[in-house]
């Protein structure tokens, strides 16, 4: 598995090629990219800054990938999460899961993504016309994570 927290952008084609490693057992590649929107909770967002907990962030994401491998029949997974200052249209996060079949790859990809949104130690500060504000946790995200009964 690969987990990276970085300020640099990423390219999904290159990441998929690296994760597949020419493994001819891979039949399914599910992926997800999260992108900065220009609006959140009704306010125009000019830019946002993402903070994380170095060490714990990587460790906790590795833990969730291990959980995903225990639940579904998948081969490998990659998470790249950006931190620092990002603007609308910028890519924030990439999750790729490879597997033999699509059902397990989709489920594991969504599971990891739900974890990233709800449990992984990232904090988002948005700059709007009204100034900068820390984003509050969403209840809907907690419900998404509850579906999986994620531990921790």
């Amino acid at each position: 598995m690969t987990v990276r927290v970085q300020t640099e952008d990423f390219d999904i084609s290159a990441e998929i090629a690296a994760l597949r490693r020419d493994n001819p057992k891979v039949g399914a590649i599910a992926s997800f990219i999260g992108v900065v929107r220009d609006i959140n909770d009704g306010d125009a967002v000019a830019e946002m800054t993402l903070e994380h907990y170095p060490g714990m962030t990587e460790k906790s994401i590795e833990g969730i990938i291990t959980q995903a491998r225990g639940r579904w029949n998948i081969f490998d997974a990659l998470v790249v999460h950006r931190v620092g200052t990002l603007k609308p249209l910028d890519q924030i996060v990439l999750v790729i899961v490879t597997g033999g079949h699509r059902g397990d790859a989709f489920a594991a990809c969504e599971f990891v993504m739900d974890y990233l949104k709800t449990r992984a130690p990232f904090w988002k500060k948005e700059k709007t016309g009204a100034g900068a504000r820390w984003v509050d946790a969403r209840e809907s995200d907690d419900i998404a994570a509850e579906r999986w009964r994620i531990k921790g």
Binding site: Y53, M56, V93, L116, P121, F122, A137
Partner: protein
Amino acid sequence: MITVLYFARLREALGTGSEQIALPPAVRDLEGLRAFLIARGEAWAEALGPGRPVRVAVNQDMAADDTPIVEGDEVAFFPPVTGG
């Protein structure tokens, strides 16, 4: 000594992201450490007091009030996460 970390809104409210603290003899668990920090003054009580939306990790695992705190631990206080 223990290492105490603060993230995001808490880091800003407390004016620090990281500090080394000589573990007070009375502090045996997370609840005790939190009480010790709250006793520092109003900003601390405001940020870490009962009912505030604060999560805590001890040695990078999510922790509860009764999680023991021992010499050398890394304790992190932060708001509910809002990632991705």
